[in-house]
Amino acid sequence: MSILIAIIVLATISVFFGLLLGYTSVKFHVEGDPVVDKIDALLPQTQCGQCTYPGCRPYAEAIAAGEANINQCPPGGETTMLALSELLGIEPVPLDDEHADAPEKTVVYIDEQTCIGCTLCIQACPVDAILGAAKQMHSIIESECTGCNLCIPPCPVDCIHIIPVKIEPETWRWSLPESTVTSPKA
């Protein structure tokens, strides 16, 4: 008997709660996930795919969905990882050893003697940083190039080369003083 009472009471309440939740989930439905935008805004937009995702936004979506770790973007380096950990409130993850140091910033240039004007690189460039038309010599707009190197593989004559971005006194950065007592952290 007492079991019956218990069951009835609890069932009534649960059904009521279920209805309530069902109702609210219909009435108070919220669309979209602003987190993705925020993550995307932190990524370097190099669109290089080194994160194993086809570009920055898909990677952002993967992070938001909890499928990807925050340390997979080599161009972003430690800074981006830290920014992501800050945004998402999760523990910083060390970068994989190979990418531990922030990679040197690079751009590419096209060896204009060799270029045959095949336009393959233009199609590959995610940010339209290559100028040129079919059968004509191509050249890179250096200020637009993100250094993603996506244009290199398609080039049939290997005329695209990587060069470091030049550091000027104006863009030069002071280094972090090396502490003599606390060795740098791993």
Binding site: T180, V181, T182, S183
Partner: protein
């Protein structure tokens, strides 16, 4: 010609951590001598023991952590920690108790956080709290200060007690130890005696001097004097002791005025136990204190308030160590919320978050 490069400024400077620590150590000497005079050799023996343990532990930890050993061993902070811890312990604390306290202070409270400068909690006080919680019995073994009717121990006897744990044949614990004035007041108040009755009690009354506990007055007075010297020299920040003493004074005065029979007078509060040591040497530990001007006032005052609360209503006779650690906990937030107004900024923009600004845009 090739030149050395370095960051500005390029003027060699005299300040260094080592000097700072040794000046503080030096300032502790008079008070410590007074303690030895009033309370016997135990203080000295334990200081030596604790210093040796502290330095060894420090060296060991630095070695394990692969950090340079010499600059830290010689900086004096470990010795300072050891001395402050011992001054808070009962004089006849057995060797293992001193050792456990010191080891906890140096290893757990200091080096697990990265050593000098990184520890959020005052190591000496952590060490003290650990032992008072773990070994309350041993922590009540206070020697009566040069009083008649109590036996006084020679150096060798003290040594035997501390290291051997056994009393000389003729003595009992009850004969060589007694409750501290603070403890006595608390106990007797609990038995509904009035302050006046306690101070004039035929048995307990002797341990009260003219302003605080007998002997304790001198110890505290000397620490007050040398502490003031440090403050004048700018080695410690005067606001912390000032805040602490002011808060304690205000609270104890208020309550004593309200009911002078059941609350100890302010002078008693200030000159018993380790208040002056705490105010000028412990609370001022730069590493664990608040750093802003206002924060330091609040930090000192907070310690004072907690000391009063724990002394008056808590279970432990003196709350200094607890109060200090409690305020250590609050120090980061105090710093954050008492950030000074930067030059060219107005108060209203505090606390300034440029991130929030970004969001608005």
């Amino acid at each position: 010609m090739q030149f050395k490069t370095a960051s500005s400024p390029h003027i060699p400077q005299q300040n260094n951590v080592q000097g700072l620590m040794f000046k503080v150590l030096l300032a502790m000497v008079p008070g410590t001598i007074a303690m030895i005079v009033f309370f016997g050799w135990g203080v000295l023996i334990n200081i030596i023991l604790a210093s040796v343990v502290a330095l060894s532990a420090e060296a060991l930890m630095l070695w394990i952590r692969k950090r340079p050993i010499k600059p830290y061993i010689t900086d004096g902070s470990a010795i300072l920690t050891a001395c402050l811890l011992v001054l808070a312990l009962p004089q006849l604390a057995p060797w293992w108790l001193t050792m456990i306290g010191t080891l906890f202070a140096i290893i757990v409270a200091k080096h697990l956080y990265g050593g000098l400068g990184f520890n959020p909690f005052n190591p000496a006080m952590v060490g003290y709290v650990v032992v008072i919680i773990s070994f309350p019995k041993e922590m009540t073994q206070w020697v009566p200060p040069l009083l008649e009717g109590y036996t006084h121990l020679t150096f060798t006897e003290t040594l035997n007690i501390i290291f051997g744990g056994d009393l000389p044949l003729a003595y009992t614990w009850d004969a060589i130890t007694m409750a501290t004035p603070l403890d006595t007041v608390k106990t007797q108040l609990g038995l509904e005696l009035s302050i006046n009755e306690i101070e004039n009690h035929k048995e307990y009354g002797g341990i009260f001097g003219s302003v605080g506990g007998f002997g304790w007055e001198w110890v505290n007075g000397l620490f007050l004097a040398t502490g003031c010297y440090l403050a004048v020299k700018g080695i410690i920040d005067w606001r912390i002791p000032a805040g602490l003493i002011a808060a304690l004074l205000v609270l104890s005065n208020t309550f004593a005025l309200y009911d002078y029979a059941s609350f100890a007078p302010p002078t008693f509060h200030l000159f018993s136990g380790g208040i002056m040591l705490a105010a000028f040497f412990i609370a001022t530990d730069p590493v664990t204190a608040a750093t802003t001007t206002k924060g330091r006032w609040l930090y000192g005052a907070g310690i004072g308030v907690f000391i009063f609360i724990i002394r008056t209503w808590g279970a432990y006779p003196d709350g200094i160590a607890f109060a200090v650690i409690l305020m250590n906990m609050a120090a980061p937030l105090l710093d954050y919320y008492t950030m000074p107004r930067a030059f060219g900024h107005s108060w209203t923009e505090f606390p300034h978050h440029h991130k929030a600004d970004d969001d608005e845009q």
